[in-house]
Each structure stands twice: as C-alpha cells, then as structure tokens.
C-alpha cells in the first residue's frame, strides 16, 4: 500500500532519534543557538493570537479592551518574531550554516524570512485604520515601481486580508516546519574548524617534547 511506502520513506529519512533527539553536540550550548526556537515560539504566539483576532474581526479588535489587548499581543509577537529571526540569521550566516549538505536548510530559512515580510506587510494593510491606508498608498507605488503592481491590489482590503490570514501564514508555517525538519535531519551545523595555518605551525620545543 502507498501508506507503507510513505511510512518507510518518512522513518528512513527522519528516524525518531533524529526527529526528537535527547542530546545535542557540546558546541550547541551557546545563547546564539536559542534564537531559532525563540523565532518558532514567537510564530506560535502570532498564529494563535491571529486566529482569535480573525474570529473577532476589525470592529472587535479596535473597540473592545480584550480585542485591543490581543491586537497588541499579535503586534509584539511579530516584533519579537522578526527580532529573533534576524539575530538567528546573523548567527547562522557567520556560522556558514549552509555547509555540509545544509543548503536546503539555509534556503528554506531565507525564503521563510522573505514570505514573512509579505505576511507582515499585509498585516499592516489589515489594520483597518489610517496607518494601513497610508501604507497601502505607499506600497502600491513601490510595487508598481518594480513592475509587479498588476498582480496585487494592496488598496483592496479583502484581497490583502485573505493573503494575511490564509495564504501567507500557511506558507510561512509550512516553510518553518520544513526548515525545522531539515535541521533535525542534517543536525546543527558544527563550528568552522580551527585554522589550518595555525595547526601547521611548528610546535614549540616544550610541546614537541611531550608529543
């Protein structure tokens, strides 16, 4: 059956000890490694608060105290999401995190960053206030200037709201899940090796004596 094929492929490419490991290499014990999971945690908060905001609707999130509170949670969740993601990106860039067959891990992270920018942009357009009107008019000029203005109407609330609450969150979530599974499959990138030149230098006489 096809289910057997799917199960065997899934288990062989991502066995349980890789999917949910209980140990990590010693070099992972650094604060710079926590920003990936911080980004994911912020994404969970953003999606959960967004689901509730979507159920309430614009009038609710503008006029009720609970709606405004959740609107604030959603906004600050996004702020933390991008903050942690940028620090994660800087850390992984300087680690050369695409090394050792991790090109797809790097690519899915980079693409999810770009799609998340679109999700945040359509979120600003979905505020239903003067700020969103201003951003829509500026964004329309910007998209027209790069030749893709015919594909989107950023002044159309219904279209942008659909992008924001369905299409882009699904895309970001799917990319992040794929990214995390690739990290599990290939493991966290090890640090760069010590410089070869330094290793090739002749040892001091005292060191030679001990070798």
């Amino acid at each position: 059956m096809w289910t057997t094929w799917v199960r065997e492929r899934a288990v062989s490419s991502l066995p349980p000890e890789k999917l949910l490991p209980d140990r990590q290499p010693s070099y992972v014990s650094s604060w710079i490694y926590v920003f990936g999971v911080a980004t994911t945690a912020a994404l969970v908060v953003v999606v959960a608060s967004g689901l509730i905001l979507g159920l309430g609707g614009p009038t609710w999130w503008h006029t009720t105290s609970l709606g405004r509170f959740l609107n604030g949670i959603h906004l600050w969740g996004v702020e933390l999401f991008f903050f942690a993601m940028v620090v994660h990106l800087w850390g992984k860039f300087f680690m050369g995190a695409w090394r050792g067959g991790r090109g797809r891990t790097w690519a899915t992270g980079a693409i999810s960053f770009l799609v998340a920018i679109g999700a945040a942009f359509t979120g600003y357009l979905s505020q239903q206030n003067f700020d969103s009107q201003w951003i829509a008019s500026e964004g329309k000029d910007g998209l027209n200037s790069v030749g893709i203005g015919a594909f989107f109407n950023v002044a159309n609330f219904g279209q942008m709201y659909t992008f924001h609450v369905i299409l882009l969150p699904l895309a970001v979530t799917a990319l992040v899940v794929w990214h995390v599974l690739l990290v599990r499959r290939h493991g966290v990138v090890p640090p760069y090796p010590a410089k070869v030149a330094a290793a090739a230098e002749p040892a001091t006489p005292s060191e030679e004596a001990t070798q």
Binding site: S29, S30, W31, I32, F35, F83, W90
Partner: protein, 59 residues
C-alpha cells in the same frame, strides 16, 4: 486613586506626534527603527559573549 495603566504608558511614550527621524546625507531612518537595530546588534553580541549556563555534573 492610581491612574489607569494606559495613562502611565502614554506619559512614558507620547505617540501623538510624527515619528522622529535621523537624517544624515542619504541615510534616513526613524529613531524607533534605529533603536531596534541597535538592540538586535547588542543582543547578538551578548548571545556570543555571555556564557551559557551549564548543568552541574553529579559526581
């Protein structure tokens, strides 16, 4: 009677004015964005330099 929380925050962060901008030659950015970028750089440096707590090993 203590003032409502939103009044306290409104006093700390008065947002009833246009955003302040830094402008130097071609560089133009709101102060809020500059602050966020500086914070990200500070957190990045701290994440590298601050030692990560290690679990104490039992003998």
């Amino acid at each position: 009677m203590a003032p409502p929380v939103h009044v306290v925050f409104a006093a700390l962060f008065d947002l009833s004015h246009p955003a302040r901008y830094l402008h130097w030659h071609f560089f133009q950015m709101s102060v809020a964005n500059v602050v966020v970028i500086l914070l990200m750089i500070a957190v990045f440096v701290a994440a590298i330099l601050v030692p990560f707590p290690k679990r104490e090993r039992t003998p």
